[in-house]
């Protein structure tokens, strides 16, 4: 599949050179790339799901390594892996139902042992379900702890199917791939429409004559505010400019063209203005599993100001921004330093950058971090495309979207234990 490889390389280059702006665009392109990878992958007759998972993982590993800061890539890779597992499971279940109905005799399965074939299939399905489900107290005693087959149950399910229904298998393999691609298409659709779904909830949160504060620019926030405006809410928006990129200026202009009462302030004026604000609404870069937020720089300050004055701090995030990882040392590890030219024009301080000062290093440093980490205790509410959630509830959404097996995409050969 040379063309897939070139597509992958193309995308890798873009990621490495940071050519793609914003997690939504990244998520969408990742999903599209993975869709083409899946459609190009030739699946064997047995273990189709395993083959697909391996192919997606191989690509996903490279993508994540290309830009480890852009967590949306990893999120989408894991979502697609979860989709494959889910589709495989539902197909297996359907096949079992078929087996039960047609009452296939145990002539072929007789070699495996004296168990009833229906029972063994049911046990297999249960095992497959338990791999999909995150581990819980309920499964602690039920599932077999030492079976090496657990990570590959979906594939062994495919095997036994293949054994008992050989005529069916080619159609089934095509069906699996078809279903997976269909589901990935749905995922892409979700990513594209997440703004609208979040914006639909705007009227529940923004009330008449309220003052909303936001920082920087986020398309989700823009749509959210405009949706409230369209529903005849009249409110005022205070926009902090979001130095050093000043995207707040763009947002303010956009809001004014849509007819919203807007005030522009500097970032340092947030504390001065916060006492008259009713609600802070911001976008996020990534939402971590503990409910912490990686957001554009400056937001931690806004969150602290909001906390100080007991103003609700609301974060809007599409479901592709939910990351199943926990942040450790996020201020350093999940941050990126951008070009200093955003702070200073080149040349302006060139005499300070003089290397001839004896030590060999310049006296002036310019540091321009991109992100802030806002701890979960500062966030009042998350609004995702499925509704409003408490920070401590994020893990629940994550359990719905991701399989526990996929959390670590890189380490493919799991250490045997």
């Amino acid at each position: 599949m040379p063309d897939t490889q070139s597509l992958v390389n193309d995308f890798l280059n873009k990621l490495r050179k940071r050519k793609i702006e914003g997690s939504q665009a990244t998520a969408k392109q990742t999903a599209e790339l993975l869709r083409s990878v899946i459609s190009q992958t030739r699946v064997p007759y047995t273990n189709q799901a395993g083959a697909l998972i391996d192919a997606v993982k191989a690509v996903g590993e490279q993508l994540i390594a290309a830009n480890p800061i852009e967590l949306a890539v990893g999120n989408i890779v894991r979502r697609v892996l979860h989709i494959i597992r889910e589709e495989d499971l539902s197909l297996t279940n359907a096949a079992i139902a078929g087996l039960n109905l047609s009452g296939v005799s145990d002539d072929e399965d007789g070699a495996e042992g004296d168990e009833q074939p229906v029972l063994s299939a049911a046990v297999l399905a249960a095992a497959a379900r338990s791999t999909l489900r995150p581990p819980s107290l309920q499964t602690l005693l039920e599932d077999v702890p030492d079976s090496a087959a657990v990570p590959h149950t979906s594939s062994s399910g495919g095997d036994s199917e293949g054994k008992s229904k050989s005529a069916d298998k080619s159609s089934r393999s095509r069906k699996l791939k078809h279903d997976v691609i269909e589901a990935v298409n749905e995922l892409i659709q979700d990513i594209v429409t997440c703004h609208d779904q979040i914006a639909e909830q705007a009227v529940e949160h923004i009330h008449h004559n309220e003052v909303i504060l936001t920082l920087g620019s986020s398309r989700t926030v823009l749509e959210f505010l405009c949706a409230a405006k369209e529903k005849k809410r009249s409110f005022r928006v205070i926009v902090a400019e979001g130095a050093p990129r000043y995207q707040g200026h763009l947002l303010a202009k956009e809001l004014v063209t849509r007819g919203l009462q807007t005030t522009l302030i500097t970032d340092s004026a947030v504390f001065a203005m916060i006492s008259r604000v009713n609600m802070v609404i911001v976008g996020a870069h990534v939402v971590m599993a503990n409910g912490g937020v990686i957001a554009p720089v400056g937001l931690n300050m806004v969150a602290l100001a909001a906390k100080r004055h007991a103003v609700p701090f609301v974060v809007l995030a599409g479901s592709h921004k939910l990351c199943p990882l926990y942040p450790h040392n996020p201020e350093v590890l999940l941050n990126e330093l951008r070009s200093p030219s955003e702070l200073l024009d080149f040349g302006e301080f060139s005499d300070c950058m003089d290397f001839g000062s004896g030590t060999g290093s310049p006296l002036l440093h310019v540091v321009n971090p991109t992100f802030d980490y806002v701890p979960p205790k500062l966030v009042s509410l998350f609004i995702t495309d499925t509704g409003g959630h408490n920070p401590s509830y994020m893990y629940r959404l994550i359990a719905d979207y991701y399989s526990a097996d996929d959390l670590v995409v890189q380490r493919r050969p799991t250490p045997g234990n």
């Binding site: 926990y326 040392n329 401590s392 893990y395």
Partner: protein
């Protein structure tokens, strides 16, 4: 203004009476068993809870004393008489007692309390002469109740019993089978549980590795096998970190942990329990184990954990809890005094006048808002997940 009720004085008089009656207990300064205690804890040796009598942490002379105390009270006092059955496997003539079974399992060094409880319940199944699932369930229920009431202070014992009973009463794995194979399956699962618990410790150690970074300082309070495993794995992974161990009065659990860590060549510093706040600014994270994780997401652990967590919270340091998921218990303590107190004598080195009251309880409850994350074999969890897991299991 709030005044103590006169009953306080009555209590004191009673205490003085008991103290004068057993002169040898003065230096241990054990308070008299209150009415509530005697009701809750059928184990008559109330100066120490049953929880500590066979624990590995106790000193040898104390152990001897405790064992002598146990010996004085044969099991006939305990409400296990009704479900006694002849043990099928030898023990000729000796009646089967789930508590003896539990204690014999508990003597194994690496076996957690909950696992011992489940093993003991498996022995009940093995010895049982029930012929239907219903009978077996009733028998198990009785056995688990007697185990639980034998030691109301041990959270993980309660949690282990509850988990196993839950498994027996509501498992889909038994649906298709006849009674005998179901029985053997239950026994097999219970025996596997020991493995699960060892595996759980390894999973927790793996999960927590990302959180231990090079050059960090970790404060540990109390001795916990899980925490030791975490630190051991980190040392094996060539992480560079140092550990502050609190002394852990009165058991000296911190001393034990520090010796174990010194064996692994991890730099250790021993603190007295009251030096926690003094050294907190050097600390990057606090690691504690747990005796039990309760429904609110808080933990019940060795005395002093609450204090450590409060100091860490004040100084904005993360508090991580390492606990296996079978320690999740369906309890919702509202305050510190809401649980059956686990009493533990304290040796002050000098005789304490009998009029001086001594706080001897040894467990405290740390509310969830002071905990950052829980590392369990179910994954890294925020405290609020615990209630969710418990609800899923017991609803």
């Amino acid at each position: 203004m709030w005044w103590r009720s006169p009953s306080f004085i009555l209590d004191r008089q009673q205490q003085n009476d008991t103290a004068s009656r057993n002169p040898e207990s003065i230096s241990l300064s054990s308070p008299p068993p209150s009415m509530a205690d005697t009701l809750q804890n059928p184990n008559p040796n109330t100066s120490t809870s049953a929880y500590y009598q066979t624990r590995a942490v106790v000193t040898s002379d104390w152990l001897a004393q405790a064992q002598a105390a146990v010996g004085r009270h044969p099991d006939d006092d305990l409400p296990v008489n009704d479900e006694r059955t002849k043990s099928a496997a030898g023990d000729a003539g000796k009646p089967f007692s789930v508590i003896d079974e539990f204690n014999s399992w508990r003597k194994q060094p690496d076996l957690a309390e909950a696992v011992a409880a489940i093993r003991a319940l498996a022995a009940v199944i093995r010895a049982s002469q029930a012929t239907t699932m219903m009978e077996l369930e009733i028998e198990l229920k009785k056995a688990s109740d007697s185990l639980k009431s034998w030691d109301t202070t041990s959270i993980s014992l309660t949690a282990g019993c509850d988990l196993f009973i839950r498994y027996v009463t509501r498992t889909s794995a038994l649906e298709y089978e006849d009674f005998n194979s179901a029985k053997s399956r239950l026994i097999e699962r219970a025996e596997k549980f020991g493995e699960i618990s060892c595996k759980a410790r390894r999973i927790i150690a793996m999960l927590s590795q990302d959180f231990i970074f090079d050059g960090c300082t970790i404060l540990v309070h109390g001795f916990s096998r899980v925490v030791l495993e975490v630190l051991k794995t980190a040392a094996q992974n060539k992480k560079l970190f140092r550990v502050f161990c609190t002394e852990g009065r009165p058991d000296g659990t911190g001393l034990r942990l520090s010796t174990e860590l010194a064996k692994l060549d991890v730099p250790v510093k021993l603190l007295i329990d009251s030096a926690v706040a003094y050294s907190m600014d050097e600390v990057d994270m606090v690691f504690v184990g747990a005796d039990g994780v309760v429904e609110s997401g808080g933990i019940i652990n060795m005395m002093g954990t609450y204090q450590v967590a409060l100091v860490a919270h004040t100084m904005n340091k993360p508090v991580y809890v390492a606990a296996e998921s079978y320690k999740f218990a369906r309890l919702y303590p509202l305050d510190q005094k809401d649980m059956a107190p686990a009493l533990r004598p304290i040796d002050f080195g000098v005789p304490i006048p009998s009029k001086v009251e001594v706080e001897t309880s040894n467990l405290d409850y740390t509310p969830p808002q002071y905990l950052t994350l829980l590392f369990t074999d179910l994954g890294v969890l925020t405290p609020s997940v615990v209630s969710d897991e418990l609800i899923q299991l017991y609803l």
